[in-house]
């Protein structure tokens, strides 16, 4: 039985192959005109090529694509390097009533995936730990959130730091990962402080209306 000429959504494709003698093949009709399809095919091919180039370390996409487009081809180079330590990003808050820094659990202020590396706090620190402007914005945000949520434990500023937990050699049995308070980590766990709110700012914020 020859293939029937379909109607509506289906019809012969732009370049249909000869219909097999059993007549089973009915082509769904593409809705883009052939000239546009050709352009889309070229763009799709370039996209795949740029994804490959980016993974392979060929700098052409970086050289010719504007940042917002380049961003969409930077997706193949996943986990190329080994980690030296397991990194934990943490914050300490300057308690206005106690006059000292104490660990602050910032997870409630960053509710999206609050317990893993995809938390906004982790991501902000991961990308911007050397960018003072972002760290200042983070400082302001955390202080505001903490003082609104816990007016009885107001803070005037923060210290933003990471913990570098050594990774044991392969094959070493170890305890399951769990989040520990800062005070529970042993001495060999290195701490790096990336940001501290200036003393003047801490004093000013602690003296603002609403402070104890």
């Amino acid at each position: 039985m020859p293939a029937r000429k379909p109607s509506g959504a289906v019809s012969g494709a732009a370049k249909p192959k000869p219909t097999p003698p059993d007549g089973a093949r009915v082509m769904a009709q593409p809705w883009l005109p052939p000239s546009v399809r050709r352009i889309v095919a070229v763009l799709a091919g370039l996209y795949a090529l740029f994804v490959w180039m980016d993974g392979a370390g060929i700098g052409l996409p970086d050289a010719i694509l504007p940042l917002p487009l380049r961003f969409f081809v930077q997706e193949a180079a996943l986990f190329p390097h080994s980690a030296r330590d397991a990194i934990e990003w943490r914050a300490e808050g300057w308690r206005c009533d106690l006059g000292r820094f104490e660990e602050l659990d910032v997870r409630p202020f960053f509710p999206i995936r609050r317990d893993d590396k995809e938390s906004r706090f982790y991501r902000a620190m991961f990308f911007h730990y050397r960018q003072r402007r972002v760290l200042e914005a983070l400082d302001e945000f955390i202080v505001e959130q903490q003082n609104r949520a816990h007016p009885e434990a107001r803070i005037g500023g923060v210290m933003l730091l990471d913990l570098r937990i050594p990774i044991p050699p392969p094959g070493t049995p170890e305890r399951r990962y769990e989040r520990l308070p800062l005070t529970d980590y042993p001495q060999e766990v290195e701490r790096k402080y990336w940001y501290v709110t200036a003393s003047d700012d801490r004093t000013r914020r602690c003296e603002e209306p609403g402070a104890p």
Binding site: Y47, A48, V51, G55, P80, I87, E88, R123, G171
Partner: protein, 308 residues
């Protein structure tokens, strides 16, 4: 008068390869599963849309327009707009999966995913970058021609119309080529990184991405086992274009790819969405036709028009 036979050139061969008909089930499977995986990935963010897109949550300030960490600065929106974006994203993604106003919903879904990827770098991951491209590919193709509400409505209007069994291969070829590019690029990046001599896999199993399965594997797999897994990944990924091009290695490559993604998804917590996305692409693109048709319970032979 007989038309003279077409001259065979490299270009015509390429066009024949590109446009060779593919079972419509490949496209339907991608259309049904990809939006669902993308939505599942975004779900933990969408339920906090105000913290994500509005000033209620932390926002990285404008960094001057030339910083790779902020490919495009898009100012925060009001919480109401953030929730509207979230609702539209879910609605368009579900509509696409259901094949309901497929073209429009795929276009809207692609645009919203692109906005979400660019609006906030902190929540943008590989899946966020892949999403708009895949949705756009579904938009440009006849992905709603079968196995969806649009197809059902068309059939009700015109029961005599034949049911499509194949699509022109373009979009499937794009998925196939893209997968090879992605794997091969990833393999070369790993070769240029630490995968030949370093303990990459092992070193990423100790932080808060750790799952019960990865912890059990950390305790059970000997040190050399991790290195062996790295070499297997390198062999599979770097030479992926070859494994998928050769007919006699293709089905083993599909199994190897699915195995690799299963391991990654089970070992690295939220990376499971990336693993599922790649697995969906892999199955849609390369699953042997007989298996694919069995999945859709479509008989392979001539009864299409009557039973499809």
């Amino acid at each position: 008068m007989k038309r003279p036979p077409r001259e065979v050139t490299w270009r015509t061969r390429f066009e024949d390869w590109l446009n060779a008909p593919q079972p419509i089930e490949r496209l339907a499977l991608a259309r049904i599963l990809l939006p669902l995986v993308l939505l599942a990935f975004q779900s933990s963010r969408l339920i906090h849309a105000d913290h994500w897109l509005s000033p209620i949550g932390f926002r990285v300030p404008y960094l001057g327009g030339h910083d790779w960490r902020q490919p495009l600065y898009i100012p925060p929106v009001s919480p109401g707009v953030a929730w509207t974006v979230a609702i539209l994203t879910v609605a368009s993604g579900l509509a696409l999966a259901a094949g309901f106003f497929t073209r429009a919903s795929a276009g809207l879904f692609a645009a919203l995913l692109a906005y979400l990827a660019l609006a906030d770098r902190l929540e943008a991951f590989t899946v966020s970058k892949l999403g708009p491209m895949l949705a756009l590919a579904l938009c440009f193709s006849p992905s709603g021609a079968r196995y969806g509400l649009d197809a059902w409505r068309r059939r009700r209007r015109n029961p005599a119309a034949p049911i499509p069994t194949h699509v022109s291969g373009g979009v499937i070829r794009f998925f196939q080529v893209f997968l090879c590019a992605m794997y091969s690029g990833a393999g070369i990046a790993k070769l240029r990184g630490d995968w030949l001599g370093g303990d990459v896999l092992w070193s990423h199993l100790h932080d808060n991405y750790q799952t019960t399965i990865s912890w059990l594997l950390v305790r059970a797999v000997p040190g050399w086992g991790w290195q062996a897994l790295q070499y297997l990944s390198l062999i599979f990924e770097t030479a992926a274009p070859l494994w998928f091009a050769l007919p006699w290695t293709r089905r083993y490559a599909v199994l190897a790819g699915l195995g690799m993604h299963a391991l990654i998804g089970l070992m690295f917590g939220p990376v499971i969405w990336f693993a599922l996305l790649m697995s969906t692409l892999l199955v849609s693109s390369y699953l042997p036709e007989a298996w694919l048709l069995r999945l859709f319970r479509r008989p392979p032979a001539a009864r299409q028009v009557a039973t499809g």
